[in-house]
């Protein structure tokens, strides 16, 4: 039914457009185009908008309200003895009603439920017809209202522009509200977690072992959520990754922007970007099955004690993965440095590298810093490589040869598996997510501010 409705919406829009445009053309023929405020096509668009705007609003209203009304109708048709007592019973009763309404499994339910299911089906049918009929009626009213306004002097263009503006605001509002919704849902779960577990022990505790007892009498089951080892592990891996991606990405960018011929650049840039296109799972098993054993055997040959899952392996591979983030963005900002600055430096007798080091890089520094920030937030948010190559052990160590774990890996570990949703273990994932979100938010904020300053300098 919704499909028919949307199809109808398109047809109404097209029809109204044609009618409005025709009317505009008539005005133009009668009075000359110069006397008209707006072009005939704007008259058409205006009429189309006045017809479909109420239809759209009605559709949204219907989407929000209709199923509630239908559900309420079905539920109130239940006899008193079958009325659900709590949320769980309500859900299961509703499932039964739905089955009846859909015509399945009709012989296993109580007659009361069957009656309710039939009521439900009836109301559902009614609501769908209501959608169509009310929608078309509103379209007609809107159309008539719009058509009455049309005259040669009518400012149809302004009306259409206003509608487009409202539409754009509505679209961006959806994006913003979604983000706000996510933040708040994470925030509320985090607060629930802090109600079960003190926040200072979470932020400053040195012991991470989130095994909550499933039964009260279970032996050895303890849950401590000191997140410092995770922060340390995340920082360690991020530092290793950035010490790979930073210099390599930056030098690649410099070479591509300043030295490479267009042909070399045309080959190298896509090749580097392939690195960003490799799925992280592939990087993950490459880190776990090739790099980690290599590091382990090399370390042992040197007499070092290397864990088979090491922060170094994960960090190295992650570093390679984020090279393109650093190099592409840095390449862009280096190219954005005005040629006149380079000319000035060359004109002083500076060599290319002197020009780059002393003029181009300082001028591009804000952009490069923001490229690094983005790479860091990517490294901090990366999960798959660390899951596969760095292990799950919450060791509090800064030795890159040991297994460590990161915030993202723990979030994944905590949420996989059968846990009660309101256990401290599950909720702690939200607290970790919130910390992560906050950290990347701060990073992005810094990057944005730096980029703004950079823009001011050259515009």
């Amino acid at each position: 039914m919704t499909l028919i409705y949307l199809l109808g919406l398109v047809l109404v829009a097209a029809g109204a457009y044609v009618v409005g445009r025709q009317k505009g053309v008539t005005f133009a023929m009668a009075g000359g185009a110069s006397r008209m405020h707006s072009l005939p096509s704007y008259h058409g668009a205006y009429l189309a908008v006045s017809a479909i705007a109420p239809m759209l609003l009605w559709f949204i209203l219907w989407l929000v309200l209709a199923h509630r009304v239908v559900e309420w109708a079905g539920m109130s048709a239940l006899p008193a003895d079958l009325a659900p007592a709590d949320g769980l019973a309500y859900a299961s009763r509703l499932r039964e009603i739905l089955l009846v309404a859909d015509g399945v499994q009709t012989n296993e339910v109580a007659p009361g439920v069957r009656a309710a299911g039939e009521t439900y089906a009836l109301w559902r049918g009614l609501s769908e017809w209501a959608l169509l009929i009310v929608g078309l009626g509103l379209a007609l009213i809107g159309f008539a209202w719009g058509a009455r306004q049309l005259e040669p002097q009518f400012r149809a263009r302004n009306g259409v522009e206003r509608f487009v503006k409202v539409l754009l605001i509505a679209c961006s509002a959806v994006a913003v509200l979604t983000t706000v919704g996510i933040v708040f849902s994470v925030l509320f779960e985090t607060l629930r977690f802090f109600a079960k577990y003190p926040w200072y022990d979470f932020l400053f505790g040195l012991q991470w072992s989130p095994q909550t007892a499933i039964r009260a009498d279970q032996v050895g089951a303890s849950g401590t959520f000191g997140a410092v080892p995770l922060f340390a592990g995340t920082t360690l891996i991020m530092l290793i990754a950035m010490s790979v991606a930073g210099p390599i990405g930056l030098f690649s960018a410099i070479y591509m922007a300043e030295y490479a011929s267009p042909r070399v650049r045309g080959v190298v840039k896509p090749v580097l970007e392939v690195l960003a296109g490799v799925p992280t799972v592939v990087f993950g098993f490459f880190a776990a099955l090739t790099v980690a054993p290599f590091i382990r055997s090399t370390g042992e040959a040197l007499g070092l004690n290397v864990a088979s899952e090491s922060a170094l392996a994960a960090g190295l591979v992650m570093g390679v993965m984020i090279i393109p983030f650093v190099s592409s963005l840095s390449d862009d900002v280096i190219n954005a440095v005005p040629q006149s600055l380079r000319d000035g430096s060359y004109g002083m007798g500076a060599t290319k590298s002197e020009t780059i080091k002393k003029v181009v890089l300082p001028a591009a520094l804000p952009g490069i810093v923001s490229a690094f920030m983005l790479a860091i937030s990517r490294a901090v948010g990366e999960t798959m490589i660390v899951v596969m190559a760095a292990g799950l052990a919450g060791n509090l160590t800064f030795n890159p040869l040991e297994a460590v774990t990161t915030v993202t890996v723990q979030i994944k570990t905590l949420l996989v598996g059968d846990q009660e949703f309101d256990s401290a273990k599950t909720l702690s994932a939200f607290a970790l997510g919130f910390v992560l979100f906050f950290f990347t938010l701060v990073l992005n904020f810094i990057a944005l501010r730096i980029v703004q300053r950079y823009r001011e300098q050259y515009d």
Binding site: Q207, V268, V320, I323, T351, K352
Partner: protein, 362 residues
């Protein structure tokens, strides 16, 4: 540019040689800087190549399977339980049985339930799929001997792909004489042909012991690190008890319990490993004639007179072992007519208490 005036500051002039030296230095810096750029790109490209090559080489064997080509007699009783030659009946037939019978015929020396089962385990459970398809496509094959391909089990497949272990072959250097053709066999050589191997085993013993000690050290550090947190955890517990906050008391107790249990299990692991290490060290130091080979060391097999002997004890000029496939004769074998095979991966990994033999997995 010999006549060129040197670059000068305001007022004073700079020596021309000095200026030239400076320019040379600047050009070296320039070349170095450019090389960093090329190096960075080369590293990234190399990594990409290694990544792709690694994935491709690791992935390619997965697209192949190992078959055993077997000519099996297909009889009506086994493959056509109803005798109707209809698809429904043929589909219920037992095609694995004729394959297994032929296959077991290759190894007459394998007897007894457990070894037999282990031998059968080397054939895949889907080994008969191809034979079934052949027969169902052409029922006239019933009663004939059909040449078919039997899929081997995944363990055997991996072994053939060289994933399970590296195998080193050394040709025999002396005349070797076996004492029997089956069961427990002693092979003596005219010269100390196994002296090198003995030294190698000693080296392996010492290396394995070193690795075990290494592991012990690692675990010890880990355990000490965990125990180092104990005083602060105890303090936290006392403070929590003082404060009377039930949540914090539970948390602190949990931390303590976790520390203790972790330390305990690490202690146990350490003891096992240290025991193994001590054992290996003792065997390394023991300069007696023969060295026992067990499942914690690389396996060594002797291929001689058409049979295979699994070595259990090795001395410079004499090995003891059990036959895996019987020898054809007890004759002395000439140099190069026999060989020693070393399977580099031991049957049992470090620290595990139970022994496993290949094929008994799953």
């Amino acid at each position: 540019m010999t006549e060129m005036t040197a670059v000068s500051g305001l007022g004073q002039r700079v020596d021309a040689d000095e200026a030239r030296a400076r320019v040379r230095k600047r050009y070296r810096a320039e070349a170095r800087f450019k090389a960093y750029g090329i190096g960075a790109i080369a590293f990234a490209a190399l990594f990409l190549v290694v990544l792709l090559a690694d994935i491709v080489t690791k992935a390619l064997p997965a697209f192949t399977v190992t078959h055993l080509v077997i000519e099996a007699p297909v009889t009506a009783e086994t493959v056509d339980p109803d005798g109707s030659r209809q698809a429904a009946s043929l589909a219920r037939g037992d095609y694995l049985k004729p394959l297994r019978e032929v296959y077991q015929g290759f190894f007459p020396e394998v007897s007894g339930r457990a070894p037999r089962r282990e031998l059968n385990g080397l054939l895949s459970s889907g080994a008969a799929d191809e034979l079934r398809a052949q027969v169902m496509a052409d029922p006239s094959l019933i009663g004939k001997t059909v040449k078919t391909r039997a899929l081997v089990s995944d363990d055997a497949d991996l072994y053939y792909k060289g994933v399970v272990t590296d195998v080193v072959e050394e040709p025999g250097e002396a005349v070797a004489t076996p004492s029997a053709t089956s069961g427990e066999v002693v092979v003596t050589t005219s010269t100390p042909a196994f002296a090198d191997d003995l030294a190698e085993i000693k080296a392996e013993l010492s290396e394995t012991a070193r690795k075990r000690r290494f592991e012990v050290d690692r675990i010890r550090t880990l355990r000490e690190g965990i125990l180092a947190d104990k005083p602060s955890a105890e303090l936290a517990l006392r403070e929590a008890q003082g404060g009377g906050d039930a949540t914090r008391i539970t948390v602190a107790q949990n931390v303590l319990a976790k520390i203790d249990s972790d330390a305990q299990s690490l202690q146990a692991q350490m003891e096992t490993l240290a025991g193994e290490a001590a054992d290996f060290e003792a065997r390394f130091k023991d300069s007696g004639g023969a060295e026992k080979l067990d499942e914690k060391l690389p396996s060594r097999l002797l291929a001689i007179n058409g049979g295979i002997v699994k070595i259990t004890s090795l001395a410079a000029d004499r090995v003891e072992g059990v036959t895996l496939t019987p020898l054809k004769s007890q004759d002395a074998a000439q140099p190069n007519a026999w060989k020693l095979l070393t399977y580099e991966t031991p049957e049992t990994p470090a620290g595990s208490a139970t022994s496993r033999s290949p094929g008994s997995r799953r």
